[in-house]
Structures are given as C-alpha cells and as structure tokens.
C-alpha cells in the first residue's frame, strides 16, 4: 500500500492497533498535563501528601548529618541553578534545615554561577526566617561562586582560602571566624553536594573524596538524570544519596518527623518534595499504561504481520 493510499484509508475501517498508531501525540501531551495538574490541584486544596518509606540511601544521608556533634563544620556545595530547582531545591532546603537544627556550622560554596544566589535564597528561607539566632560568619557563611570546576576542587584540597578568598559579602576569608580552623577541604568532616550535573557530585567523588574518604564523609543529592551515574558510588564513596524528587521526599519526611513538635504544624515550605510525589505517582502510572498499550500494539501488529 502506498503512502498516499494509506493516508486516504478510512480510519474507522482500520484494525484497532492501526488506529492506535494514528492517535495525535498532542492527546498524549494533554493527558500528561492532566495527570500532573490533577494531583497538584488536589494536594494544593486538601494539603494531603503521600506517605514515604525512606530507602537505605536516604536514611544514610539523614544519619550522616545526625551523628555529627554540634558545632561540627559542614561544607555545602550548591552545584545547581534554578533550571533544576524543581527537583533539587527541596533537598537543599531540608539539608540546611537539618544542619541548622543540629547546630552545625555551615559553609556554602558554589561551582555553578547561579549557585551562589540559590545558596543565598536557601539561607534566607531556612536560616534567617526560622533560625534567626544563627549568626553569619560564626554559624554559617556563603563563600559564593568560583569558576574553575575541577581546578577549584583540587585547590580546595591544598588551600581553602586560596580557592575562596572572600565570601559573598566581600569579607576576606581570613576575617571569617567560622573558617579559622579550615586549611583545606579535608578539615570538614562532612561534605554535602546538591548537584545537577557537571561540575557536581561525580567530580567531588573523583577529585576529592576517593583520595580522602578516610578523612571526610560525602553525601549527595542529585537529579534523576544523574542518579544512575552516582548509585555505583554508594555506600563506599558516597555515604548517602538522595536520588531525584523521590529521594528528596523520603529525606524531607525523615527531617520533618525528627523535628516535629506536638501541636505545631510543619511549615509547608518543608514539604515541597512530598507534595510533588502526588503528580509523580499519577504521571508514572500513566506512563506505565502507555508502555503497556504500546507493547500490546507492537505484539498485535507482529502477530497480524506473521499471519
């Protein structure tokens, strides 16, 4: 049958799998939009979220932070920008919240240009709004962005102040009390990277952690696209891993449970990832349905062709 004849064929006269092949893909887009927006509206109106059962990798992130003594130093590398905020901002928010609640001293750095602003926004939302007693310079500091990718990581191994000579306010590293005892990155017992790609968690493992994991632990939060590349490093080179929005939701639920106070409602900004698991569920069911229908169609076509 020629292409012209095929196109002119009456659609209702075709077998069902042929008709399925001809569905305009925009109907699929519309159904996906409904699959995502429906749960958002439902969760937005009711405020209910799905229960989360934390996996081993997410539990490890929580425990690595939880076991640190108060006033320990934590290096938080914000290696993403607003493009990936939908997935990674909930992780960054909850990580900073747990560190602040544990009274850990946080040093923020960024290897992505917009990471510094993301760190500043996270500091504002979590530390300044909910932990106002923490003082900039003593309890936390944002060292801003440094260009250089792996070169910055290598430099951090020898001289922290040379890699980040001043903070985002312009204050020299030598004048910042929180950095008094820091000579190199290995002076931090824990390194946290929230990363969306290059440079990010993989480079931290390759250039810093693999050679020094006896001195410091490393936990990471990453996008779904990056997660398959990072799972082989867990648990030897990456002590804990939050993979995609699911990892964020699991970790968020653990932090919320551990910091819950009876009679006090957890602020909604700490449940962003849990809220986004509703759309995930419905959209994934829809995707699975499409894959099943596609396979049935494939086998039906094959059978008809064989007959």
């Amino acid at each position: 049958m020629s292409a012209a004849n095929f196109n002119n064929t009456n659609a209702s006269a075709l077998p069902w799998f042929e008709r399925l092949d001809r569905i305009d893909r925009r109907w699929i887009f519309l159904l996906m939009f409904l699959a995502v927006s429906g749960p958002i509206l439902w969760i937005g109106v009711t405020g209910k979220t799905l229960p989360e059962a934390p996996t081993l990798a997410a539990r490890a992130v929580f425990q690595e932070i939880d076991q640190l003594p108060a006033r320990s130093l934590v290096l938080i590398s914000i290696d993403f920008d607003p493009t990936s905020a939908g997935e990674l901002q909930p992780m960054a928010t909850s990580l900073v919240r747990q560190c602040a609640a544990k009274n850990l001293r946080m040093v923020f750095i960024a290897l992505w240009p917009l990471g510094s602003q993301v760190a500043q926004q996270t500091i504002q939302e979590v530390i300044r709004d909910d932990y106002p007693a923490l003082k900039e310079g003593d309890d936390f500091v944002n060292m801003g962005f440094q260009a250089g990718n792996e070169a910055v990581m290598k430099l951090l191994l020898t001289d922290f102040a040379k890699a980040f000579p001043k903070d985002s306010r312009g204050e020299a590293a030598s004048n910042i009390p929180i950095l008094n005892s820091v000579k190199s990155v290995t002076d931090f017992p824990l390194l946290i990277s929230v990363s969306a790609g290059y440079p990010g968690s993989k480079e931290w493992v390759q250039y810093v952690i693999s050679a020094h994991n006896e001195k410091m632990n490393f936990v990471s939060g990453c996008t779904g696209v990056n997660a398959p590349q990072l799972y082989p490093y867990f648990p030897q080179q990456i002590a804990g891993l939050l993979g995609a929005i699911k990892g964020a939701a699991e970790y968020e639920s653990m932090v919320n449970s551990s910091l819950a106070v009876e009679g006090v409602v957890t602020p909604p900004k700490y449940s962003q990832a849990q809220r986004r698991m509703g759309p995930q569920l419905v959209a994934h069911l829809f995707m699975v349905g499409l894959i099943i229908v596609g396979n049935i169609n494939f086998f039906a076509r094959k059978r008809r062709g064989a007959a």
Binding site: G86, E87, Y207, G224
Partner: protein
C-alpha cells in the same frame, strides 16, 4: 484562515475567557505585594571599608562611623504574602507600607506568559515559542558573558596582573595576588592570546599550542582521578563475598537478611562479569560466552530502563514545579504555602 489558525484562535479565546472569569471571582489572581522598609546607613568611603574589612568580621552594610559621617538612606521592598496586605488594609485602609508592586506583578505575568509560550510548542511550532526560545538563548549568552568577565577575567586575570587598578576601580575587597599567581596569570594571558591567533589570517598554527596545553592538563587531571575513583575503587567494591551472614544484636544469624544480602552480592558479581563479557569481542559470542553475554544484555537493558525511569521522574518533577507556579503564584488556584488564606 487555516485550520491551525482557527484552532489557535479558539484556544486563545477560551484561555482569555477563563482568565477573566478567574480574575473576577474570589481574591483575583497574579498580584505581588511588597513591604517598604526604610534603611539608613553611615557608609564609609573605600579606605574605611578596607580598614573595616581587615579588623571586623561583621557585614560592611552595618551602620558604622564614617570619615565624612554622611548617612545614606534608601528604601528596601521585600515581597510579602497577599494575606499580609489584606491584614494591613483591614487595620488601616489608608496604609502605604504594604502596596501592590507593579514591576514585580508584570514580571510574574511575563514569567507565566513565557512558561505557556514554551509549552505551546507541544501543540505546534509558533511565534510565541520562537520569541521565548530566542529570549532564553539571548539572556543566557549575555549572562554567561557577564559571569565570565566579572567572575573570571576581572578578579583572576586583571586582579592578578593589575591589582591596584582593579582595587581602585571595581573591587576594593580584592585580595592582593602572590607573585607566583601573577606569573601564572601572565602565562595564561599569553596562552589566551595564542588561542585567539587563529582569528588572524596568518599563523593559525600558533593556536595549536594552547590547545595542546589544555588537552594535556585535562588528560593528566582526569586519568589519575578516573583510575583512582572509578577503576580501582569500583573494582575493590565488586570483590564481595557470595555468601553473607547477617547477625542481629544478640549475635544470632538473621536468615532472611543473610539470604537477601547474599542474593544481592551474587547478582552484583554475576552482572559485572556478564556485562564485561558482552563487551569482550576477542572471542566469538557462542556457547558459555554467548550465554553470559546475553545475560549481560539483560543487565544493560534493566540499567537503561532504570535510567529512563529516573529521567522521567526528573522531567515530571520539573513539569510539576512549573504547573505549581502557574496554579499557585499566578492563578491563585491553590495555596500550599498558606500565603493567601484560601
């Protein structure tokens, strides 16, 4: 008018009607309110700022005694929830502390417009999508140019080669460079000029030298780290016992956990061997080798499936975030952060 044109017209009309209806019911939609704060600071001059930076750890924005003692005043506008505006209006209808911010409101509507413009590509390629796409490309290029200039060239290159000029003109807080840093930056400048030589009509071969330098340094950095973190470390973690005994706190063997830990290790070791066999092309894939290679293919397929699943999860999370923005910040259909008291 073409069929597609008519469809766009209908979609646009329905959309505008829904927006108008939404704007007329309830609290309305798409407005940003700001709270005014008056700030007064005695701003020190550049010399005082350097002195203060050397002697104090506090922020330079904090009020300090300046040499000229001239106070600076300005107003800061911080975004507040519509609920705060409603409360302020209720307490005092004539208040001006919390007001509607037109620039931010227009920004919000532009953000919504460009989000929809990008989504409109799913229906068909169109002018709105092209405008949004061009704007993203233009803004990104300009942003990267500015970042490259101010975060790399100015502090690292010019700051090392002409520190006095950079300190007096643009970055008073610049940390003075060491002599070695100045020498290395001078070399970097020479390599940069050599790299740009290819733009000249003659002597293009000169740009091959900095390229060779970049390739050499990158290879040196990557080979060592890859061997250490991926080859050696990953090989080491694959050396696992095939039979694992998991004990509980009392020292008794937990059969169930032991069984699953052993199965996990066996699957891992078998998977590594079979995948390596699949990529081993020196022997024909027949018999035992062929069987192992086929198992390796299954492992690879499962891995690709998991990677695809993660990618889908990531993309849906991003889509959910944009739809949340449209429903929450713009249309005020939902209020997950309790900003409007819906």
């Amino acid at each position: 008018m073409t069929r597609q044109g008519k469809t766009w017209l209908v979609i646009g009309a329905v959309f505008v009607t829904l927006l108008v209806v939404r704007g007329m019911i309830g609290q309305g939609l798409g407005r940003v309110y700001v709270k005014r704060t008056d700030v007064t600071v005695n701003m020190p001059d550049a010399v005082d700022m350097n002195t203060a930076a050397a002697s104090s750890s506090t922020t330079t924005v904090a009020p300090t005694t300046s040499s000229n003692g001239k106070p600076l005043s300005w107003q800061e506008w911080k975004q507040v929830a519509p609920l705060a505006f409603a409360a302020a209006q209720k307490a005092n209808p004539a208040q001006t502390e919390i007001t509607l911010s037109w620039p931010r409101t227009i920004g919000l509507w532009l953000a919504a417009f460009f989000t929809l413009a990008i989504f409109s590509f799913l229906y068909a390629d169109n002018s709105f999508y092209k405008i949004a796409e061009s704007l993203v490309v233009g803004v990104s290029a300009a942003y990267w140019g500015v970042i490259g200039f101010w975060d790399t060239l100015v502090p690292k290159m010019f700051g090392a080669l002409t520190p006095g000029l950079v300190k007096s003109m643009v970055q008073p807080s610049l940390v003075s460079p060491e002599p070695l840093q100045q020498i290395s930056m001078a070399l970097a400048l020479i390599l940069s000029v050599m790299m740009l030589w290819r733009l000249l009509p003659r002597g293009g071969w000169i740009s091959a030298w900095p390229l060779a330098f970049i390739v050499g340094v990158t290879a040196g950095l990557k080979i060592v780290s890859h061997v250490e973190s991926d080859l050696m470390a990953q090989t080491a973690v694959t050396m696992k016992p095939l039979v694992v005994r998991v004990t509980d706190a009392s020292g008794a063997t937990n059969m169930w956990d032991s069984w699953w830990a052993s199965v996990a290790n066996v699957l891992l070791v078998v998977g590594v061997i079979c995948c390596l066999t699949y990529f081993f092309f020196s022997v024909q894939h027949k018999g035992v080798v062929g069987g192992a290679a086929r198992v390796g293919i299954w492992y690879l397929m499962i891995t690709f499936g998991a990677a695809f699943g993660f990618t889908v999860m990531g993309r849906i999370a991003l889509l959910a975030a944009r739809i949340e923005f449209l429903f929450d910040d713009w249309l005020w259909l939902i209020d997950p952060n309790h900003l409007r008291g819906l």
